[in-house]
């Protein structure tokens, strides 16, 4: 979490670079096609699949060993059985305080989407302006440096005070924590548009609109998507904590509720679910980023 929230511009650039270097590997992609004609490479497949399986097995094994004699902490088997029950009916609804796991996740995702969407609407254009105009950059960089390291939850009381309701306050917290990576990465991207491209624009005498749509935007897009990816990751981390404090339907509040019920099995399941949803969000955004990354030719 810390690394994602306190992301400095230099780190952001480094983040973007591996994404850019992904593409050159693309020509190697036809290799598996060629391989298909040859005998199946069992050794390669085993070496690829085995280590992750060993890792998971080790986790479950240690967990099982430690909980063999415990009466308070559930075993892996008990957790799995309970998970099957939970997932068999994820969308039931027995009033506001007792809803299916599916609803809880969807409500959390909705808050993240709204808060994050607003942050993108504000942060990306703002980042463009900071990157393009030196005056704005110098004007806002001390403010950003000051506010960025603040834990997002510290903003929650301000949200509660201003909006006088829990739900908008949670969204406000997501907004404030996901706006920084987008501002900073977009600004860095704009500042790093290769001078050659801008010279092309000058020599061709392109209009400001063409410069933005044909040169600046595509050149900045990979940086911007890095910012978006970091933001979504942070937002998903923060929503759980925010919901614990604000209540309502949501995965974070669900965890807190189950803690009050002393239902540790459900908490463990929630941890896995939160992890998997975060993984899926990350994966989706990485695939989008790959789609829009271009080689520096």
């Amino acid at each position: 979490m810390v690394s994602a929230v306190f992301h400095s511009p230099r780190d952001a650039a480094n983040e973007a670079r591996p994404a850019a270097s992904d593409k050159p590997k693309a020509p190697a992609a036809p290799a598996p096609v060629a391989k298909a004609r040859q005998p199946v490479d069992w050794r390669g497949i085993v070496l690829k699949v085995l280590p992750p399986l060993v890792g998971i097995a080790a986790l479950v094994g240690i967990w099982a060993l430690l909980t063999i004699k415990s009466s308070t902490f559930p075993t892996p088997l008990a957790t799995f059985k309970e998970a099957v029950v939970l997932f068999s009916d994820p969308f039931y609804s027995n009033g506001p305080n007792d809803q299916g796991l599916g609803w809880n996740i969807l409500f959390s995702l909705q808050r993240v989407a709204v808060g994050f969407g607003l942050a993108a609407l504000v942060g990306i254009p703002f980042g463009f302006m900071i990157g393009r105009f030196d005056f704005l950059s110098r004007m806002f960089s001390p403010l950003i440096s000051l506010l960025r390291p603040v834990s997002p939850l510290a903003w929650l009381p301000i949200g509660l005070l201003v909006f006088k309701a829990a739900n908008p306050a949670a969204i406000w917290t997501i907004f404030i924590c996901s706006i920084w990576p987008m501002i900073i990465n977009t600004a860095v991207g704009v500042q790093r548009v290769p001078a050659d491209y801008l010279n092309v624009a000058r020599v061709l005498n392109l209009s400001e609109w063409k410069v933005i749509t044909k040169i600046l935007f595509p050149a900045v897009l990979p940086y911007m998507l890095t910012g978006v990816r970091l933001s979504v990751g942070t937002a998903w981390l923060v929503i759980v904590a925010a919901e614990m404090l604000t209540g309502g339907v949501g995965i974070g509040f669900w965890v807190w509720d189950e803690w009050n019920n002393l239902n540790v099995t459900h908490i463990l399941i929630a941890i896995f679910v939160i992890g998997i949803v975060g993984l899926l969000l990350e994966w989706a955004l990485v695939s989008i980023a790959k789609r829009f990354t271009y080689d520096d030719v």
Binding site: N199, V203, N205, K210, K214, Y294
Partner: protein, 266 residues
């Protein structure tokens, strides 16, 4: 044919860097006639690219004046197309779209979309890259990218073609091939060309005149050599031509004997 199509009059260039003032060019006087092929040659750091950027309008001189077609050069413009050393194609556009960007700017107001597309494709055909119209820059070789860069410049039907070491990053065989093609294209389009190079053979083969620059700082034009070789020129025949060998010797003599590159002490 205008004798003084491009005029550089007493141009001085001083850069204000962090380390202080750097006097790059002094007292540059040069006239280029319409349809003439002029190369600027000199050791690295002699300010030949700076002079080209001045003609392009990418930088403005500290003092002195530059005139192109009776107008002062105050900013870059489509009548002075630039071919960059590293081609500078936009990686997210196809070859055709890269060329189209230039075509659209110059002819977009007066011509239909079909005409613009025809122009882009014609420019690609001119450099034998018609087959790669839908490819993106990373899918084609370095020499091909440079050709597309030339096509983009030619598509604007510029009055002047400015080339900054256009073949510098290419291997020797590709370079020779593109030089031959450039000769053909220039013969066909009657373009005025100002080209920066550090390759003596390239300069003699392509130029009507070679502008040899002294070493910086405060570099200036040391000597101008007129190359009176018949066109079309053939590199294989020229290799044993006494006049060609003589011109080549002249340039080498200027660069290495009279103005050898002195590494700065300390």
């Amino acid at each position: 044919m205008t004798r003084n199509f491009i005029q550089v009059q007493n141009a001085e260039m001083v850069f204000n860097t962090k380390k202080g003032r750097f006097h790059a060019l002094r007292e540059i006087n040069l006239n280029v006639a319409q349809g003439e092929f002029v190369t600027l040659i000199g050791h690295s750091g002699c300010g030949k690219s700076t002079l080209l950027n001045l003609i392009a309008g990418l930088t403005l001189p500290s003092s002195g004046a530059l005139i192109c077609d009776n107008r002062e050069i105050a900013a870059p413009g489509p009548e002075r197309a630039v071919v960059f050393q590293n081609h500078s194609l936009l990686p997210w556009l196809t070859c055709e779209e890269n060329v189209h960007l230039a075509v659209e700017r110059v002819f977009g107001a007066t011509e239909s979309k079909a005409q613009l597309k025809a122009r882009s494709l014609a420019a690609l055909d001119l450099v034998n890259m018609g087959h790669a119209a839908t490819k993106r820059p990373h899918e084609i070789s370095g020499g091909m990218k440079q050709r597309v860069g030339i096509a983009r410049a030619l598509a604007m039907e510029p009055k002047v073609l400015l080339m900054d070491e256009p073949f510098g990053a290419l291997d020797a065989l590709t370079r020779a091939h593109l030089q031959d093609e450039l000769l053909k294209i220039v013969a066909r389009t009657q373009s005025t060309v100002v080209m920066v190079t550090h390759d003596v053979d390239e300069a003699v083969l392509l130029s009507d005149r070679i502008v040899m620059m002294t070493n910086g700082p405060a570099a200036t034009i040391g000597e101008i050599l007129s190359i009176e070789l018949e066109r079309p020129r053939n590199r294989v025949e020229l290799a044993e031509d006494t006049k060609y060998v003589h011109y080549r010797k002249e340039v080498l003599d200027f660069l290495y004997t009279r103005h050898g590159h002195v590494e700065k002490a300390a």
